[in-house]
């Protein structure tokens, strides 16, 4: 609340602050209500579970955010996550597992599997970027096509069969906790998954705020034509953004596969919409040029806290969807109001 510094808090500024962040206040309120109803809500197990859910979704949302900031979108995010999970899964099956997808696949460390997955997915991102930057296909359509295309590829390579039988070393990546010996049950608050999410967050913050790429990205979102006149290489920047997004999906898919202990064509379904919604709730403007990494994190948190709260309050999962849908619409309506007021 830097704006009110040095001034007495007037009712108006307080009200404005609340209405600008209405969704966040509502979620905090909901969390408090849930906590009051069920002591278990604040248990290390539950909060650790929340962190584990937030981590991969935050990584995906970070990927999508660049597309959104440049007035684009990426509808292929969820399917790419699914495909990445399947690729990673195939490379991390135990050698003696009877239903190996590729029996000839040699044993490889998880790092190699991760790097290969990232490399493959980056190609899909590059295709998205090129189609959008050079063929000028609107991002909505280009990535819609990619979504369907990736799903088809995923069905072919998996033969429509779920993939299981992971090596213990891969499984442990997403299920372990830091300092498990020292902290006991409190170590649940430090799942391994926290680390990649944290690194991605720091990397994205640096990229968006401290590098040319970040400035160019915001410039394209603010006014693509003006950015071009100012000498920004618009196509190259867009391609970098979509490749980076795909790299994030690859990482998220790799982790999700590990956490779930299996992967299938259904993995990641609908994640793109959750990620886009989370970004928007977190203040990434649908009008382009605006969006912060901290906002993205808040957006993802809002969504996951909402889900867990409604679960604890024993709502039918169907109601969770209704609540999520309402949150998306209300959040965007509130966001747009900030711009409409200026006309």
């Amino acid at each position: 609340m830097g704006e009110t510094k040095g001034r007495a808090l007037s009712t108006k500024t307080v009200l404005k602050f609340i209405s600008d962040n209405a969704i966040i206040f509502l979620i905090i309120l909901l969390a408090i209500i849930t906590w009051a109803n069920s002591q278990n809500f604040a248990s290390p197990d539950n909060l650790g579970n929340l962190i584990s859910n937030v981590a991969p979704r935050f990584i995906i949302a970070c990927g999508v955010s660049g597309c959104l900031i440049t007035k684009g979108t990426d509808l292929s995010a969820g399917r790419q996550v699914g495909l990445a999970a399947c690729f990673a899964a195939m490379m991390q099956q135990t050698l003696d597992y009877s239903a190996r997808v590729f029996p000839w696949m040699p044993d490889m460390p998880w790092v190699a599997a991760l790097l290969i997955t990232v490399a493959i997915m980056a190609c899909f991102g590059a295709i998205n970027g090129c189609v959008i930057a050079f063929l000028k296909v609107p991002p909505f359509i280009a990535t819609l096509g990619m979504q369907t295309l990736v799903y088809g590829i995923c069905q072919i390579i998996t033969g429509n069969q779920p993939i299981g039988g992971f090596k213990e070393s891969y499984r442990a990546l997403a299920s372990g906790n830091f300092l498990a010996d020292q902290l006991g049950r409190w170590s649940r608050l430090l799942p391994y998954l926290l680390l990649p999410a944290l690194l991605v967050g720091l990397f994205m913050w640096f990229l968006y705020n401290k590098t040319r790429h970040g400035k160019y990205m915001y410039a394209i979102g603010g006014n693509e034509n003006a950015a071009q006149v100012a000498g920004v290489n618009v196509p190259a920047t867009l391609i970098r953004i979509y490749v980076l997004a795909a790299v994030m999906y690859a990482l998220a898919g790799f982790l999700i596969g590990s956490k779930a202990g299996g992967a299938s064509t259904a993995t990641g379904t609908g994640y793109e919409l959750e990620a886009i919604a989370a970004c928007t709730i977190g203040g990434v403007s649908v009008n382009g040029g605006v969006g912060k990494v901290s906002g993205i994190l808040i957006g993802v948190l809002v969504f996951e806290v909402l889900k867990i709260c409604l679960q604890f309050l024993r709502f039918d999962p169907a109601y969770t969807f209704i609540a999520q849908g309402l949150v998306i619409i209300v959040a965007v309506a509130l966001d747009l109001r900030k711009y409409l007021a200026k006309k």
Partner: protein, 499 residues
């Protein structure tokens, strides 16, 4: 009933950072042509948009046919008999001429279906009324821009209006088309229509109008009977001071030729072709021409925003290969575009981002990380040097006034220390005080030895600021005039030299 058909008084309209209208007024008599005059940014179009209901005024009242009214929107205005032909056309080129004329008020049958037969029959009648021989079923996009403009006028006429606003209707018309327009205007006047006529062309105004209202900086200056008015009188009233004090004293000394363009031709046969010109070190080259003369297109071509087929660009004898803006920037060229909003400012971004975007390579630490301290220093230097009025370097550029936005954009290019500045309408939409500051900056650039190419549609600006004036007409360079000898007449003669 009063002697006026429509009276607007005490109109105030504020946009973020600008007071566009400050107690403006306009009183229209039936059956008369009323010229509304003022410099760019004087508030003429804004006042008309208030009359037509596109903008809602903050203060003021409208009395229409003796009754105080509030015009809620364009449809409301049309229903009341007020029609407007916009300065910037807003047609739908993919639809037919008839549909464009009746869009939003289609004739209906059975209450739900559009009656196409009636629509096209009516459209044909309307087109005939204004002496246009077009097929109403033809696509609007098949017409030229000036023909579209005439269709817009037919559309206004078809609304059976009692007040007709013509906002710069002749800007893209040829001489013959202007005559056709004047015939229509005269016929409408005889039918008792009140016509508001906005134009910059003095001869037209003096020929067609009955009364003249002059505005300056959003304020009402006065209304005069058109008979007996002189061009000088109107200009003095529009500008508000003697012309000689409008421009700073220039101390630049043009040196040797440094920037040369030879046989520069667009890939579009209707655009610029076989353009040859030279600019000296420390020279301000004005570029004059009517709308459609392809001046902007030529400059965008030089800057790599448009493609060309043939042509050589050299700086100090070195040939420049330019296929995108980046190449031009690396070659030491800067370009301030014509439409600040569309191709200049990064609206939601901060002043700091807007200033630094074209020169980020200079602030890298270790080739990766941007030095925020260096950027902040650059911004503060420019804020001080060009006296940019802004609360902080983090302020969004869109909240600044037009003049300050323009200074930010100039800072953006200064950071690159270019040799050649292309300025396309550098003072468009900027109020008079800020204009003078922009002129001072331009004069200073030339004094420092930069080559300045300045497109302008304001005669006074061209004559007052240029060392030489290059005149274009229909994609060709039709001549050069020495700055000291340039005047409205010799520029217009070259600007209308059609093939």
């Amino acid at each position: 009933m009063s002697e006026y058909r429509l009276e607007m008084t005490g109109v105030v309209k504020t946009f973020p950072g600008v007071k566009a209208l400050d107690h403006a007024q306009l009183k229209l008599r039936p059956g008369s042509v009323h010229a509304l005059m003022g410099e760019n940014g004087a508030g003429k179009s804004t006042l008309m948009k208030c009359m037509f209901g596109i903008y809602h005024m903050d203060e003021g009242e409208v009395v229409y046919e003796g009754e105080k009214v509030q015009i809620k929107g364009p449809l409301d205005a049309l229903n009341r008999g007020i029609a407007m032909v916009h300065q910037e056309l807003q047609p739908i080129p993919e639809r037919s001429i008839g549909e464009n004329i009746y869009v939003g008020r289609y004739p209906m049958k059975h209450g739900i279906m559009v009656d196409h037969e009636k629509m096209y029959a009516d459209a044909a009648k309307v087109l005939e009324e204004v002496h246009l021989n077009y097929d109403p079923r033809a696509k609007l996009g098949s017409l030229s821009v000036s023909q579209m403009q005439l269709v817009e006028i037919a559309k206004a006429v078809s609304a059976d209006c009692r007040v007709l606003i013509l906002d710069e209707p002749t800007s893209s018309l040829t001489a013959a088309e202007v005559e056709a327009l004047f015939t229509i205007v005269n016929e409408l006047r005889e039918k008792g229509v009140s016509i508001v006529y906005i134009s910059h062309k003095m001869d037209e105004i003096l020929r067609i109008s009955d009364e003249v209202t002059i505005m300056r900086d959003g304020q009402y200056i006065g209304t005069w009977d058109a008979k007996g008015l002189t061009t000088d009188f109107i200009i003095t009233k529009m500008v508000g001071r003697e012309l000689s004090n409008l421009f700073p004293k220039r101390e630049n000394v043009p040196g040797e030729v440094v920037f040369e363009v030879e046989d520069f031709t667009s890939i579009n046969p209707k655009s610029f072709r076989h353009v040859n010109f030279q600019v000296r070190k420390g020279e301000i080259l004005g570029v004059a021409g009517l709308v459609g003369a392809q001046r902007t297109e030529l400059m965008e071509g030089l800057f790599g925003l448009r493609s060309h087929t043939t042509g050589r660009i050299t700086y100090q004898g070195r040939e420049l290969k330019i296929s995108q803006p980046k190449d031009a920037i690396n070659a030491g060229i800067a370009m301030l575009t014509e439409d600040r909003r569309a191709t200049g400012i990064l609206g939601v971004l901060s002043i700091a981002d807007n200033v630094s975007i074209a020169s980020l390579n200079q602030y890298l630490i270790g080739g990766i990380m941007l030095d925020d301290g260096k950027i902040e220093k650059l911004v503060q230097d420019n804020v001080a040097k060009l006296s940019i009025k802004t609360p902080s370097s983090k302020t969004q550029i869109q909240s600044l006034s037009g003049g300050n936005q323009q200074k930010v954009l100039i800072s953006r290019w200064l950071a690159n220390d270019p040799d050649v500045f292309i300025l396309d309408e550098p003072t468009r939409g900027i109020d008079v005080g800020a204009k003078y500051e922009i002129y001072c900056i331009i004069a200073e650039l030339a004094k420092q030895g930069k080559s300045v190419i300045m497109i302008s549609s304001e005669m006074s600006e061209l004559i007052g600021m240029s060392d030489r004036v290059m005149v274009m007409c229909d994609g060709r360079v039709t001549g050069f005039i020495d700055g000291a000898e340039a005047n409205q007449e010799n520029i217009m003669a070259l600007a209308t030299q059609f093939e």
